[in-house]
């Protein structure tokens, strides 16, 4: 699947993730799956990592609920989530795969490992626990 994100949304995400270092930053993505097969991210939610560590993230469920209601009010579809890897590459860790329970979601990972070269990738995860398969999605910043 091809996924697009607006440059200003990417920049907001990056700025937020940099401001939260050394902790992982996280949030949700919402938008639409258009008829031409492109997943268009229309809004990025910058939410609280209640784990407050550089090794894990858990999205604040109260903020998650408020975001879902905001998406509904604005006619946006929940498309997945995003989080940062302050010290590791932009690929799903074993824990990321284990907790990726929605096979319809896109999972965006923003690596800050090289400060002047942030890397954002999108992934699709499916399959049963223990045998999950990961596919990189084509991501375009527009």
């Amino acid at each position: 699947m091809r996924v697009t994100i607006k440059k200003e949304d990417y920049e907001r995400m990056l700025e937020y993730a940099l401001s939260k270092r050394p902790e992982e930053a996280c949030g949700l993505i919402a938008g639409e799956d258009s008829e031409d097969g492109v997943r268009k991210i229309r809004k990025v939610y910058l939410l609280t990592n209640i784990d407050h560590t550089n090794e894990h993230f858990s999205i604040d469920p109260k903020e998650q609920l408020a975001s879902i209601k905001d998406m509904r009010a604005n006619g946006l579809k929940p498309l997945g989530n995003w989080h940062s890897h302050p010290e590791s590459p932009s690929r799903p860790s074993e824990e990321d795969k284990r907790l990726a329970n929605d096979s319809k979601a896109s999972y965006l990972i923003l690596s800050l490992m090289e400060e002047d070269k942030p890397v954002l990738n999108a992934f699709h995860v499916e399959g049963e626990q223990g045998s999950r398969t990961v596919r990189k999605e084509e991501l375009e910043i527009i």
Partner: protein
């Protein structure tokens, strides 16, 4: 009675529990679901005993997390 589930108004049976609603709604991977009722989060383990009331607003949320 009438309740709201994920923003949609629904007619459901009286004395329906949250666990029964989860089954009725065919919620996928229910073991990973957190339930909020009127913006209050239910303790996990109470889904079988929590009885819904007229006008309740129910949301199902999936835990979202990961690690490096």
């Amino acid at each position: 009675m009438k309740i709201t589930v994920a923003g949609e108004k629904k007619e459901v049976a009286e004395n329906l529990t949250v666990a029964q609603l989860i089954e009725q709604e065919n919620v996928e991977t229910p073991q990973y679901v957190t339930v909020s009722i009127n913006e209050e989060f239910l303790e996990s383990g109470t889904f079988d005993t929590h009885v819904l009331k007229e006008g309740d607003e129910v949301e199902f949320l999936y835990f979202m997390g990961g690690g490096r």
